[in-house]
Symmetry: C2
Subunit: 172 residues, 2 copies
């Protein structure tokens, strides 16, 4: 269900031939007249090593060897989002997750377990239609988030054992 094949990677198809993803990202920075700094490279490299969206705090921990301040991570991710090389999504508690896209549409979405936080993939489905309509209405810099939440199979079993059955939140 979770594979790491190159063809499935969110960035396949975005990076130009003969160019590393990092170089592509730097190109985006240059076009936006942003400087290429050590912390930014470290953050991009950390993002490159992941397929699923990462929490800021976790990203910061993985960056410890680079001595990158948490505030810098916040500022860089916000800047990256502004220029569209990073995509923000949300956890069920409202905190942010980031993943590197380099401008590409996502190849899949995610489902996050409300109880244990584990994430898994959900097949991509196109939202170009609604986005095009917004563009026609005059909106710019359009992005979207799609997130699924639920109790994962493991937590569902625990939950059923412990809690008294209430109204099923979602009936399919």
């Amino acid at each position: 269900m979770i594979s790491a094949t190159q063809s499935n990677h969110p960035l396949s198809g975005v990076i130009k031939p003969g160019e590393s993803p990092l170089e592509t990202a730097c190109g985006h920075l240059r076009q936006a007249r942003m400087r290429i700094t050590k912390p930014r490279i470290a953050i991009i490299e950390a993002l490159l090593q992941r397929e699923a969206p990462v929490a800021i705090e976790q990203l910061h921990q993985e960056l410890q060897r680079h001595q990158c301040d948490l505030v810098t991570v916040y500022r860089c991710l916000a800047a990256f989002e502004d220029i569209g090389i990073v995509r923000r999504s949300f956890q069920h508690n409202g905190t942010s997750l980031y993943e590197l896209t380099l401008g590409a549409q996502p190849k899949h979405y995610h489902v996050a377990c409300k109880a244990c936080g584990r994430t898994d993939r959900v097949d991509y489905f196109p939202v170009e239609g609604p986005e095009r309509m917004l563009a026609e209405r005059g909106y710019t810099q359009i992005t979207h988030i799609v997130e699924f939440f639920g109790l994962c199979p493991a937590c569902s079993k625990k939950h059923a054992r412990n809690a008294a059955p209430a109204i099923p939140a979602t009936r399919l």
Copy 2:
């Protein structure tokens, strides 16, 4: 673009004939073995008066005459979400919005302006497919969020005047 016709209301079709939306909500509470209290009724009534998702803080302000504590609003909305009568969505800054659904699927989604926060509607598109797949995988209590973000037409114009053109965040 934003209409308040009854047929378009998110709750049309959910409330049983001869039953007010409030009564329906109370039924949900009872089934979940939750108590029907003054603050909860006030919150439900406040939600009923809105079509678009509301921020917690704003909801609290509209509840001032009911002397309902902000903490209670948080707790009630979380409980309402657990039993599925309320749907949570997010603003671009990560804060939560809530709307009453009484268990119904949404009739539309929203687009929020990153600059001024204004929200508007986006046509609903079905996500039953992915949700059914998750159910087959063993997930329970499945919900989803779909949010669009962008610069609204007005803010787009201002933005174009002020800022130097960077990489377009989204190309359609």
